[in-house]
């Protein structure tokens, strides 16, 4: 009886961690399934997979052997790279304006940045398609680029802004006191300190673009991106190579995110370990 009540007390105390562990498992199971299937699941019929071939790296070595898939991947990467560069550039300047300047219409500008994030993707996709239909504009890479930049901007602004809010302006003042002009100050002080935020924003924009299906589905015409390719073949049964590529993308993204966080912490530690009693630049985590 005593053992039972002790067990019950232990369970009561550990209920929260156990619940949290189960929740984490729920979030990670599909990722594990994708990774496991990339090593040797064979498509059994249209909808299901079975692990009956045992462990094989066959699909990893033949990852890039499907021409249509390669084409879709290269389109996605080009699209994501271009839209990331454009969205990060114009989103960063917007964030600077919103944090550093006072001007009429700021609230309206804020609203215009937030509303797209609160709009269901299907509505964004449908409204853009409506306009392209009206203008008889041919759907393809250009319309995809327009759409991807549009939905990335808001996220870039939010991430860069959070970095700017925790920014120690004394450092810029110090640069100015030492005779640096506004442009030199921006180039040698502001930009390097802002860089982790901009990098995080760019990574987010890239991830959003390469992952987007819904808005692309409406505005792609005959252009096929990676998610559109997966959607197309999912009706027939996806080639296992897709699982291998998804796993590879996961690892690359995870390593990139991990490195960013590690680099940021190191920078914070180094700033903290400096001998001079100067205030370390306050940081707000980027991701």
């Amino acid at each position: 009886m005593a053992a039972l009540s002790r067990a019950w007390a232990w369970l009561r105390h550990q209920a929260l961690p156990i619940y949290a562990g189960l929740a984490i498992a729920y979030m990670l199971i599909p990722i594990a399934v994708i990774a496991v299937f990339s090593f040797g699941a064979t498509p059994k019929d249209k909808l299901t997979f079975a692990l009956d071939n045992g462990f094989t790296t066959e699909y990893w070595s033949s990852m890039f052997s499907l021409p249509e898939l390669n084409e879709a991947l290269s389109t996605s990467i080009r699209l994501a790279a271009l839209s990331t560069v454009i969205a990060t550039a114009i989103g960063t300047t917007m964030a600077i304006a919103l944090v550093r300047h006072r001007f009429a219409g700021k609230r309206a500008a804020n609203l215009l940045i937030v509303i797209p994030m609160a709009t269901p993707e299907v509505v964004i996709g449908a409204s853009l398609l409506s306009m392209f239909i009206y203008a008889s504009f041919a759907l393809g890479f250009t319309t995809l680029l327009i759409a991807h930049v549009m939905f990335s901007i808001s996220f870039v602004v939010v991430v860069v802004r959070s970095r700017l809010i925790g920014f120690d302006r004394h450092l810029e003042e110090a640069a100015a006191d030492l005779g640096a002009g506004p442009l030199t100050t921006f180039r040698t002080v502001t930009l390097p300190l802002l860089a982790p935020g901009i990098l995080a924003a760019a990574m987010l924009a890239f991830a959003l673009s390469i992952d987007d299906f819904v808005i692309s589905n409406f505005n792609s015409g005959t252009t096929v991106t990676f998610p559109l390719y997966v959607y197309g073949v999912s009706l027939r049964g996806i080639p296992v190579q897709v699982n291998a590529i998804a796993t590879l993308l996961f690892v690359v993204a995870a390593v990139a995110a991990g490195l960013t966080i590690w680099q940021q912490r190191r920078a914070e530690r180094m700033a903290g370990a400096r001998p001079e009693p100067e205030p370390a630049p306050a940081t707000v985590t980027g991701i």
Partner: protein, 289 residues
């Protein structure tokens, strides 16, 4: 300040605002305009101020609209029930594992949304171990299916939008001053009373943001219903997608999509006014030192 300096913020904002106006605001106008046209793909669509398109688009798809509310509402509630304890555990009980757990929360973002959902389709397929276990536990009838049921779609929606619930909750909980909870306990509040009277009200902004960020995308989603629900579980998103891309009945599709946008804006406005928080509308910088 001279004129040149005063124009600086507008120069900085200009390109981005122009992009958002041209490719977000203006398309909404054209979608509204398209909704007032009539005709067919062969004869072309002409502007006839067909206001009836709006009520028609609603009455023709009542079933899918109600289903969207039900699915998205249930998924949001489940995400809150799963997400709040998890966010709480990460904020206060995780210790040195905190970064690792936060990483696990955002990990789904590192795989493609579509592929994650297809993975769920595999997990819930008829001969999968998960379904066998559910059948053994009699949670699902012996010959019952999980795939192509409302439960499958709700599970998928909950899974896919869970991080959007957890992250704002965590951000809010992490800033919670635990001394307030201690004070409540010093004043003889039970753990439960302290939670209801102190923790919960203080984390309301996080709950509001999480609920909105989960409900809105879940309401408009059509991937989960299509891949996990099959033909019988269509939501509004499926109707809009099919009308636009397969049937090419643009006016009706535009009308339905326009109404969805209006509805979402109304929900956001009312919800924020009711919940009394500006956190969602980009005012987060105003509350900070």
């Amino acid at each position: 300040m001279n004129l040149k300096q005063r124009l600086v913020p507008y120069w900085l904002l200009g390109p981005g605002l122009l992009w958002l106006i041209l490719f977000f605001v203006v398309p909404m106008y054209f979608m509204g305009e398209l909704a007032l046209r009539s005709g067919s793909l062969t004869t072309g669509f002409t502007l006839t101020w067909e206001w009836a398109n709006f009520p028609d688009s609603l009455s023709g798809h009542t079933e899918q609209i109600l289903r969207s509310f039900f699915f998205a509402g249930t998924a949001t509630l489940l995400a809150l029930l799963i997400g709040y304890p998890l966010a709480y555990a990460i904020a206060f009980r995780a210790g040195r594992y905190k970064p690792l757990l936060l990483f696990a929360v955002i990990a789904p973002f590192f795989t493609t949304y579509l592929i994650r959902t297809i993975a769920w389709k595999t997990i819930l397929s008829d001969d999968s171990p998960v379904v066998s276990v559910l059948q053994a536990l009699a949670l699902v009838p012996e010959d019952g299916r999980v795939l192509a049921t409302p439960a499958a779609v709700i599970a998928g929606l909950t899974y896919n939008f869970l991080p959007f619930m957890i992250l704002p909750l965590y951000a809010n909980l992490e800033r919670l001053d635990l001394r307030l909870v201690e004070a409540a306990k010093d004043l003889y509040a039970s753990s439960r009373t302290a939670f209801v009277k102190v923790t919960l009200p203080l984390t309301m902004p996080g709950i509001v943001a999480g609920v909105l960020l989960t409900f809105i995308p879940a309401f408009g989603d059509y991937i989960n219903a299509q891949l996990l629900g099959g033909t019988g579980q269509a939501m509004v998103g499926n109707v809009i997608q099919s009308l636009y891309l397969n049937q090419r009945d643009y006016p009706e599709a535009a009308a339905l999509s326009f109404l969805m946008m209006a509805l979402i804006l109304a929900i956001v406005t009312v919800y924020i006014r009711f919940a009394g928080t500006g956190a969602f509308m980009g005012d987060e910088d105003e509350g900070r030192a």
